[in-house]
Symmetry: C2
Subunit: 409 residues, 2 copies
């Protein structure tokens, strides 16, 4: 079947014809639940049994802030293949893929609608006691087993070729690493923070560090990244964590994925200015977020290093001192990429709901200024970071400095 | 035509049938001039006009020190495609490809038999006044225009996929970065230097640095490398330089190519112990070699930086301070990779004629010990290197130390 966007009824018909999912003659209902900007997402359910699946179909364009531009359908292949690889390593942490259709750019997969997007949960002040353990394991296993440490060199190079993903990488290259740091037409920020944004555009040492991080993103093919691991790509319940939407998957620096998780926790941290009016509750939730940042890194690194010791196939992996020097670099990378991801969410094209739900422009500007300060500090101080608490100390100090400056104005 | 190794007569017939090379009915002679270990190389000539071409056909196995193992025919594709890309950037510095045949794993190309292999020339004490300028330009242009600096990100990623080259990379991974630094069965060294080799196997800080360089080789997809740029892959006359045999081409760290050139100049430098008995001539030739090392780096870097300033398409390339920090890292990489390439030629499977032509085992051992010392120093001291003279100073100091120690024994 040549590509065309399916209707709800066509989606039902499509699923009915797939072997092994529903009984012949099953009565199915369909509901389109996507945001319609990039993909169609059909929730297809058999009322009689309660059984359900998701049909996700890529649209041949992207629609952001009123603009529309063509976007490769190949991202549906990338997403389904990445999900299958991740499922091999952490089956409980990603949706199962039942079927992929290249021509329709369509994937039929496990329904996770009993979960909520983590970003939404965090905005509502929810806590997820298992999240750090889950996401640490997700990253440790998916990244280790696709890296030169855990994969045969032939397998790794085949995967590099499978996930070149030029179009979606270009979006990251532009929107995370380039546009926000100059007066680019894609930028979209609160006019009240123009002074702080312009200071970033003129901050030469910062721009140099960001350019180095961009070069690392462009060249360092370390492992198969999720590539867009923010809290809007993570479904959660109190008990369960599911990572979705890996259409940005490609071979890049490992710190980019870890940095994405940490950046989005810290964006929520900064947004607490406007999200939680009660000072006591705000401080307590911020402590929860910082502890989660530390736990995410600590869980990741302890599992990653354990895999390294027990499972590394690469013959040079066990040379004395290598893993320590690797981890030292990795935490610096993580902080640097986290910083870029924070800055771009405040200055660049695509904001985050954590900040954007703050109605009052002044209050939102305060949160955004704090985010900008944290992002910059993480980038500029990253080479001195050795432990996860060094990262959270940077956040605490930036917050204290910010509060002090705000008080003296 | 299904793959089979051609005879001399079949090679003539094949070339005759190609349009545009020779007139119909031309009288051609053929001579197989390869070493028969990896490829057949036919020199095909029309006596009447003096016109000639080379037909290079990959064999499906490699034969080294009596062993034989299967080797992908895909390397003929890699070689012909790499030559064509290099020809686009530096047409005077590589042979022109006239025809490539995927099924026969065969390339018809420009005949360079008026040139000699540079390794042979250096062993005979020849000097090549244009070499540094030529090879500097070869590397600057081929590396810059295939890097993220000079190529569009889509083009770069397509090239990464074209040149994954897993089998030949694996040879480098094993023979350059792993086997020589442990008691591997592939190693093949002069029994007289066992003590020095065992010291390397037990030198933990050295092994750590080599493991880091290996990880860089595995992960840093900076530019389309030649991948095997030693003096046996370079044809020269006094006026001309032609780089051949890029079947190891893949996306890797730029310093690996520059390091290969420098390593092979320094292997000849070390071999002067046995190649040139006259102390005065030896010193003079060594000075020539060290000046060439400096010139190779200086030519490369000045042309590369010039391209960066004038031709870089990457938007972040012009961020203040980036090229300086890039070059600083690059010279350290170059020295580190040069060091590995020196060590592996002394300890590992494939030696170099510069050393192996020294008949007397004792004299050869002296040259090899000096090479081992230089190689280690380049690796261990690489992060302090800023100028090409820092590299040659390391060589000079290692030589002085070596001479002193030899004198006191």
């Amino acid at each position: 079947m040549a590509y065309r966007a399916l209707s709800e009824q066509e989606a039902v018909q499509y699923v009915k014809e797939l072997p092994g999912l529903f009984e012949p003659g099953a009565e199915l209902t369909s509901r389109e639940i996507g945001d319609g900007n990039l993909n169609l997402v059909f929730h297809i359910r058999e009322e009689a049994t309660g059984k359900s699946v998701i049909v996700k179909q890529a649209l041949p364009y992207a629609r952001v802030v009123g603009e529309s531009w063509p976007l490769t359908l190949d991202r549906a292949r990338i997403e389904s293949e990445a999900l299958r690889i991740q499922y091999k390593h952490v089956p409980d942490l990603v949706p199962e893929v039942y079927h992929y259709d290249a021509e329709l750019a369509l994937t039929v997969m496990e329904d996770l609608s009993d979960h909520v997007l983590m970003r939404k949960g965090l905005i509502e002040g929810e806590r997820y006691p298992h999240f750090a353990k889950h996401i640490g394991r997700f990253m440790a296993h998916t990244l280790f087993y696709t890296s030169d440490l855990g994969a045969h060199p032939y397998e790794k190079k085949t995967l590099v070729g499978t996930f070149l993903n030029p179009e979606l990488c270009k979006i990251t290259e532009d929107l995370v690493f380039t546009d926000p740091y100059e007066d680019a037409p894609t930028n979209n920020f609160n006019p009240l923070i123009r002074k702080e944004v312009e200071a970033i555009w003129n901050h030469k040492p910062l721009k140099l560090e960001i350019a180095k991080l961009k070069y690392d993103f462009l060249t360092r093919a370390e492992a198969l990244l999720h590539g867009d691991l923010h809290t809007g790509s993570i479904f959660v319940t109190k008990q369960s964590t599911k990572v979705i939407d890996p259409e940005f998957a490609y071979y890049g620096p490992i710190g980019f994925d870890i940095g994405a998780v940490i950046a989005n926790l810290l964006l929520n941290y900064a947004a607490q200015h406007g999200l939680e009016p009660d000072a006591g509750k705000r401080e307590s939730y911020r402590e929860y977020l910082l502890t989660t940042v530390e736990d995410v890194w600590n869980e990741f690194v302890s599992q990653f290093v354990q895999l390294w010791h027990k499972q590394a196939k690469e013959r040079s992996a066990h040379v004395e001192g290598l893993w320590q020097s690797y981890v030292k670099r990795l935490i610096a990378d993580t902080a640097g990429f986290a910083g870029c991801k924070i800055l771009r969410r405040v200055i660049g094209l695509a904001g985050v709901a954590d900040l954007n739900t703050i109605q009052d422009d002044q209050t939102r500007a305060e949160a955004e200024r704090l985010a900008l300060l944290i992002g910059q500090e993480l980038i500029l101080k990253r080479s001195g970071i050795e432990e996860s608490t060094d990262m959270t100390d940077i956040v605490r100090q930036a917050t204290a400095r910010y509060d002090q400056e705000a008080a003296t104005v």
